[in-house]
Symmetry: D2
Subunit: 312 residues, 4 copies
């Protein structure tokens, strides 16, 4: 299997695609992005990096950041987190508030907005948002080995409709006592975390610990093997909002998408993959990104649901 | 790793457990079962069979049958099935009717009751239930290499409250045109399929095609690799009703449970596992069965979310 | 106030209307009706009858029958009925099943389909449907003083989609024990009750006991004053499905609509009114019927929400 | 009918009641109120005032204020208000957010919190809350003829859990564009309006325009007869949250309750009634207040659903 060749062919195929979905419009700053872009980067377990297309262009990782935020929060409070956030797929859009009403302010999982806001509340602790954001940036710098990753302040400042929805979610959970700090500070943390700008290359590097059963490629341990598997499990069951089942069905590997058009996907023991294309499908996931991952999985045989054979 | 040893220790540990959950009471015939039983059988990819406890006692496989029914239906109508059934976790109890109202009679996935009734409608075709049931039995005989597997007619006759709920679901979907044959015939097929009696040993054997990427151990092909992976994916995201996310999180391998207390679990390329213990937890899944699989996964390192290393 | 004059002008105005709504299509027999019809009949408390348009044409009263069925059931079991049916507006379409799931099989009120099926279960008792239907017909003959009112068997035989939905509702409540007799018999009773054919004249006569605080015009007592008021209250809050609030707002008098296009409306102490026009609005209520009642209320000053002055 | 006598007997009966419900606890300032209080005041159409018990003790009118706020908003924008707020009972608790998600940010009616927040947004206009509150106070002074009515600032300052829920509701509707001004200002207006302190006597006086078909007792017109009737209709169908149907059934007259324990009830052409007792029932309505109105209606024959006869 010549992975470099596959990447090149994928890039060509994606660039030829007509239907690219629709760029998210509810964050004005994101709506300006040229939809004609596509990037892919694959960091392999044996230390190679294969990249193609716009793999070095920065984009707003948005909800992909929820993976890193969850990892940090588990480091702070461990399994106590699960008293405040569930681990089940939601069966609802990413910003639904209905489920919270029926389940006493406990979000279904840490990857829908409500759950990620609770995670942001945990990560905030009693500090100012800039402290929590600083910690997040240092963590991502460490994971990717790249200290140039930063917040796009224009994106952070640009939230409107989503801003109000998130204010609604946060205040609603505050009423149940499941958001414990000042709502404005919690959302400040959350919004800045989502506004991290990364390229496919940087994102694929940052995700390596999840393909390596929790180890950093430098040999250090980021999380225990058990925790790494569990984060991968959550990505598979909950990583694509109400299209998570479909993504598992079609692609078959854990992944987390963001409305900026990025997806981080993990093949345990094999690869950490980042794809990016700004156009979204009806479920709010990158149109070309999903397609590229489906094709990549088909070409490589990568799937957590198949026997992996040597040499593939 | 001495798998035989692990199985023996697991059986001893499970037999010592105090909290065994509650035997399902809504099917009177199932309520009579002695909750003090536990069985496990593991068919490995290299052809071994390891069994322990009550591995040869027959039990009602109930919803585990949905895996075989789905495989049959895909063989008949292929991907057209997905026009009538979704592939998303439901976020609702197994017999919920609410979701159908909001989504025009299209069940969320083939493993909740509503979805399995649509599958039973497909498998029925224009025939009498005994034709469809005969076909199902022949298929399971072939998969397991055991022609003694049969329907427990007393269980089939014993459905009451669930019977009325299923009548409600079926008629509701009939109103939307998503059940196409006579409701009584469709449910006759469905109820008899659920009333198949199998032992852990028989069930583990029947599941081998899903660990072998769709091949029968005799070398024949049951389904394509792609379809085998997709069935595994559905088991992971939807196989345990509204505890599917938790099962993926804690156990990390595809599984399908039934209210009879059985669970079929698949480690691709490694093992087809059946566990059984009649007591259920609050989500309707086998209490000891889930616990045993979690412990087995921990001891063996089996997880679709970790790098599988040689020799494990 | 010259009521005869008002009636004549109303008929002329309605006949000139262009937008007449859509005839219900899910009961094939009803779909054949000419939408160009409009009838009105007003039985006054002082014994007059004013009628116009197609006031003597028979139509399927459908859900208007729920008023008479409720009256009968309260006569049988009194306030015990309210342990099985609520008294709150539903906030959902007439045939919704979602609410039942959240409220343990207790329908919100006796005028949505689910509630009316429980009422039909009460009225059936342990008998055959023809017994219950015979009782219903005798009751309506007595109320209207007209023994010619009968069931339209073609309509009763013509239910399909609604038939399946009602089967779903009835089986669902049977699972909760809130339908107690054989579902087919209960629905046999329900469907025949709905298939009563009456003219506006007959219907206005049958409704007189509700304007007379429970008395029959012949001096006999049909129900107590308290019960008459309570039935009127339910008509006002629940009589038009999810448009009940709007009807109360615009018309201001208790009313019960049916998908056959009829509405029975009660002005306590003043008038029992029947209007009929087959075209329905988006909420499933007669388009011209609602308009005519709104205009009639405006012209007469009839409203339960205004001070009634002498001479009006 | 000796109304004074009835009032005296009612007061005695209510003071003897053991079960007084539970004082609302989520607004700390309200939780301090002595539950052993009961007051009633009846302003009749012929100009009498009958009062008893704690009729002159001030209490927080809370949601009763929604009646006056609705009247003001209709005066500002007329029927355009109904493009932003519905007129249907909600079938949900007073502070539910679920319905908003399913109905695009349009609250079901102006008497649930979400609807009242839209009304507060309309009444705020582009001004500061104190301007809107000043206008509200002047309006209530005029209606009641009592300039001493004021805001209880301690109550206004005391909202916590409800405060967060209302922030959630307001931000959620802001996301849909159905709240148009700064959320903090809108809620400032809303919370202060709810914190008006009035006695039963003052409240009964303030409600007289609704019994007089829109006229002020001084002869001026507050609203048109049509609008008065419509406000009464909304009170009947939506005035008691998810117990509105039950209140209409048991009491039979339009009413609006508040969590402070007050209820304003209107008998068109007869009486404007205020009752107050701080203990609430499970639906959040005054326990003794509801009971007293039911008994008053029984003793007087007052009901919008019965023929009112002269001399009663």
């Amino acid at each position: 299997m010549d992975l470099g060749n596959i990447v090149n062919e994928l890039v060509a195929a994606m660039q030829a695609q007509e239907d690219r979905g629709t760029v998210a419009s509810y964050i004005p700053e994101l709506a300006k992005i040229d939809p004609g872009q596509f990037g892919i980067a694959i960091a392999t377990a044996d230390g190679r990096m294969l990249a193609g297309g716009d793999a070095d262009t920065g984009f707003s990782i948005q909800s992909v950041s929820k993976v890193f935020a969850l990892t940090l929060a588990l480091g702070k409070v461990g399994d106590q987190l699960w008293e405040r956030v569930g681990r089940e797929p939601s069966g609802n859009p990413f910003n639904s508030i209905t489920q919270l009403e029926h389940e006493q302010g406990i979000p279904r999982n840490p990857f829908i907005n409500a759950g990620a806001i609770v995670v942001a509340d945990v990560n905030l602790g009693g500090h100012q948002p800039r402290v929590a954001i600083g910690e997040m940036l240092r963590f991502v710098h460490y994971l990717s080995g790249d200290d140039s990753i930063a917040i796009d302040e224009a994106v952070a400042a640009s939230e409107t409709a989503t801003g109000f929805r998130n204010l609604a979610l946060a205040n609603y959970m505050r009423a149940f006592g499941n958001v414990r700090h000042d709502v404005d500070l919690v959302l400040g943390n959350y919004i800045h975390q989502c506004a991290m700008e990364m390229s496919c290359r940087q994102l694929a590097l940052a995700g390596r610990y999840l393909m390596l059963d929790g180890r950093h490629p430098d040999g250090g341990r980021v999380v225990s093997p058990r925790r790494a598997r569990r984060i991968n499990a959550l990505m598979l069951t909950c990583g694509h909002y109400d299209a998570s089942g479909d993504f598992a069905f079609r692609v078959g590997i854990p992944g987390k998408s963001g409305v900026g058009g990025g997806i981080l996907a993990i093949v345990p023991g094999r690869a950490s993959i980042a794809v990016w294309s700004p156009g979204l499908n009806a479920n709010g996931n990158s149109c070309l990104g999903t397609l590229a991952l489906e094709e990549l999985a088909r070409r490589t045989g990568w799937s957590v649901f198949s026997p992996l054979e040597e040499g593939d």
